[in-house]
Amino acid sequence: MPTLTLYDAVGAALTEEMRRDSSVIAFGEGIATKRRELVDEFGGLRVRNTPLAEGIIAGTAVGAAATGLRPVVDLLFAPFLCYAMDELVNSAGKLRYMSGGQFSFPLVTLAMTGAGWGVGAQHNHNVEAWFVHSPGLKVVMPSTPADAKALLKSAIRDDNPVLFFLDIGLLYQPGEVPADEQTLPLGRATVLRNGQDVTLVSYGKTVQHCQQAAETLAGQGIAAEVIDLRSLKPLDEAAILTSVGKTGRLVVVHEANRLCGIGAEIAALVAEQAFSSLKAPIVRLGGPDAPIAASYPLEQASVPQAATIAAAAARLCAAQPA
């Protein structure tokens, strides 16, 4: 299988979808410069650089999506989405419903997020939960190049607005990516490792940390099940509930602020719908209620690491069943 970075997997998905469907266009602050090969293949009208103005980039995507195009816009880093909230939330997310279904908004917004580059809180702020909380939007965050490619292709084909988050820390990690035109449905999690003692649920960079933790736990005789959500909305509730139904123990892990994050949603879901299976408290591991510092050691300290995950899971398994 060919090996690609996540960054290149995004390029491959764009290329394939732009070949397949001439209504797919791409624009953003520098996309025509940085992905020059797309301009070479599809021309400067379908792939455009824009002024430095996230609001109008997103707004233009909304208007275009409602009237026949399928735009993919690159808004660079997740905190810059703050300048596009009206267009994404109030327009893309609501105008279908508010118009009684007259419009649909097939558009994809790319944004990078997460620790790894020491760029500080105005570039590194995990805001995916905002969009899960907002109606009418789908949210995807892959953890491998192969998933990124297959999910982005589905996102481009989806008739709804999709926020597609790229974990900065994974961006240049290589991974095997099938050469074929595979897609993956949005809303389907994947079980990366089976186990019956504890469920580790995560997405993005911390999936790897969960897998390392599962290795450590295996050494201690604890069989952890590892779930990569991939899509945050729609959320694969069944996959989570099935796993917790089996293990009775749940650790949810992500880099974003714990407060009102995806971990909160999953913990609440399980406390509502799989309560009787639970043998121990639910544990959420996530970022603190603090901006992320640029200083590398502080940045790393804000991310749940494998050792912390393993320790938390081991503690759960040691506790008496409730």
């Binding site: 233009t60 208007g63 275009a64 327009s91 118009s99 009684g100």
Partner: protein
């Protein structure tokens, strides 16, 4: 229902304005009687709406905002379905989900209406991009207020439209008010058209209460956009003679300014001119008024008879 043909007869322009006025007044009284929610009426601004909309072709697309009854009715919208929408009923253009503030009617080419002031400006370039890239002839008309012009999206939209050669006719309805703030308290210049030069976008202001002047200016502007495939900004200078949102006692309004504008009522001006130059007889004028009030009465009955959406509608059409 398709967009109505642009009116060629001046009496049709008058009739459209009368219809808009009667429609708005039916809401004002309905809302005073507690039968309807309050709305942002366009009373006093009928000429600005009718003049522009009648300069458009059927394949042009319109974006508008919270104060949109004039644009919709001039475009041929059914007042019954509009009133049903205002009342949150199933037969409204948006199945009752929009209410008065964001009525889109795709079948009429009225797309993506938003009550977020400035959102019309942010979405217009994308609509124009579709027209251009998909080879459609229609231009895009974006109605917005002087208030919207103060949002950053104004700057971003005009800059992009100029750069990308987008066929957008920006129509600023400068009605001197931004809700409860006078335009003077909010704009560093008198006219929004003064701001267009920064983007090398041609612009013009026109007396917005003279429907014939607006029509002529809009025809010229639309023709220029159609030919150049570039943006143009037309500012219609008018006045919101009722409050921002019904009910509103307008206690904050300068009475002299209001009186001056009331004296320039666009409907009275048009009717008097047509009567004076013989295009309209008093009997015809009375017949127009009658026809309009009948239409509104029928519309009201239709809207009131329309049921509320069923509870199952709560989560329908959220996702495609």
């Amino acid at each position: 229902m398709k967009p109505s043909h642009p009116a060629s007869d001046p009496r049709q322009l008058l009739e459209q304005m009368l219809l808009i006025r009667a429609y708005e007044e039916s809401i004002v009284s309905g809302s005073a009687a507690g039968k309807m929610p309050g709305t942002c009426t366009s009373v006093g601004q009928e000429a600005a709406a009718v003049g522009v909309v009648n300069a458009l072709a059927a394949d042009d697309l319109i974006l508008t905002n919270h104060r949109s009854a004039g644009h919709l009715l001039a475009r041929g919208a059914d007042p019954g379905r509009l009133l049903a929408e205002v009342m949150g009923r199933r037969d409204g253009y948006c199945k009752g989900r929009s209410g008065s503030l964001h009525i889109s009617a795709k079948e009429l080419g009225v797309v993506l209406t938003s009550t977020i002031v400035g959102a019309e400006l942010s979405m217009a370039p994308g609509v124009a991009l579709s027209q251009t890239m998909l080879g459609r002839p229609g231009i895009v008309v974006c109605f917005f207020g002087d208030g919207a012009a103060c949002e950053g999206s104004f700057h971003e939209s005009l800059n992009l439209a100029a750069l990308w050669n987008l066929p957008i006719l920006y129509v600023c309805e400068n009605n001197q008010w931004q809700a409860f703030v006078h335009r003077r308290e909010a704009m560093s210049r008198e006219h929004v058209a003064d701001w267009a030069a920064a983007y090398s976008i041609p612009a013009r202001t026109v007396e917005g209460n003279d429907v014939f002047a607006v029509l002529a200016a809009a025809q010229a502007a639309a023709a220029e956009v159609r030919d150049s495939r570039r943006p143009y900004l037309l500012e219609t200078c008018t006045y919101r003679t009722r409050g921002h949102l019904e009910p509103d006692d307008q206690g904050y309004v300068d009475q002299a300014e209001l009186a001056a504008w009331l004296a320039r009522d666009p409907i009275a001006a048009c009717r008097n001119r047509l009567l004076a130059n013989g295009s309209l007889t008093p009997a015809q004028a009375a017949a127009l008024a009658d026809r309009v009030s009948t239409r509104i009465a029928v519309a009201q009955a239709f809207a009131e008879a329309s049921p509320f959406p069923a509870a199952e509608e709560l989560c329908r059409d959220v996702y495609a």
